[in-house]
């Protein structure tokens, strides 16, 4: 089975029922798929993995976007969600909740190490030098937005990050159930 399909399957099957829209992009040597998740999907996934009730409640209040990316270039593509822009229909920035936010939150909630580890593996890395043909998949979490929002994902390229910057735009995304 080829790797893009594996990534797509992972992204699709990590959470059982898929949300309605599945924006996808393929070009400039990057394949990228973005899929918002419903609070019910989030609750079901983490509840089934034994997460404490308080953690499940906190997680289901955030907006989860599952992202799958594959580097189809011959050089390195830098995955750095901190460089990505999220903004609502009025152009106001939408806050991303980085790993550090969840680590602090889980600390307060007393979430056990095993659950924290599992959560970490379900998130998109904060930094990754994607090698040629390398796939990556995981979630980014946002403060929930009413209405639609836009993602502009920027990627530096080249081992020294001096290659062309690639910007991919996904419009009309939503946080389902908000």
């Amino acid at each position: 089975m080829n790797r893009p399909l594996l990534v797509a399957l992972w992204v699709a099957a990590l959470w059982a029922p898929a949300a309605a829209a599945q924006p996808a992009y393929s070009g400039q040597g990057i394949e990228m798929r973005v899929e918002p998740r419903t609070p019910e999907q989030i609750s079901a996934f983490y509840e089934a993995r034994g997460f404490p009730r308080a953690a499940v409640e906190a997680l289901s209040k955030a907006c989860f976007i599952t992202v799958g990316i594959q580097n189809r270039r011959e050089d390195i593509v830098w995955l750095e969600p901190a460089r990505w822009e999220f903004f609502d229909a009025a152009g106001r920035p939408v806050e991303r909740l980085p790993r550090a936010y969840w680590e602090a939150r889980f600390e307060k909630l007393g979430v056990p190490p095993a659950s924290r580890a599992t959560f970490g593996w379900t998130q998109l890395p904060e930094v990754r030098d994607l090698r040629p043909a390398e796939p990556v998949g995981g979630n980014v979490t946002l403060v929930p937005v009413r209405g639609t929002f836009t993602l502009v994902a920027r990627f530096a390229t080249g081992s020294d990050r001096r290659g062309p910057v690639i910007a991919l735009r996904f419009d009309k995304l939503t946080c389902p159930g908000r």
Partner: protein, 168 residues
Amino acid sequence: MFRFAVIAICFWALPLAVSAVEVPEGLIALDGRPAPALKLTDLDGKITDLAELRGHWAMVHFWASWCVPCRLELPAIATMVKTKPESLALVMVNTAETDDEVFAFLSAVAPELTTLLDRDGQVTERWQPRGLPSTFFVDPEGRLRYLALGGRPWDSPAYRRFLASLGR
């Protein structure tokens, strides 16, 4: 003098024997830093200590049952296990799941495979895989030599040749 020559040839020949076989696509070479400690038990409580596998190559594979690429890769691993060199140790490590979850999953999907249990996920954290699944190759001196990017077709001819070269 003779002993020195034999040792020198062994040091020279070990990497050469591996490099003679093409490294398949999807494996990247690592810098040879020492592998992190790994000492865990399996579902029966049997302890495996990576340090005790010195002298042979070890394939250390991190996985979880909720990870779909991990699940898709398992049949290839199950097939590969039947043909891999005996001296190549397969060390499977489940990341942060319970004994019940792992037993229910493996007994249904790949009963021929055994796995160690990293119950709190901390061993996996120390190894810093690039994601799940992840497979590291540890050389006979206990150093990290290769990393597989995501799930790989371990039962394909290119991978079989590569794995066979590690058993020489």
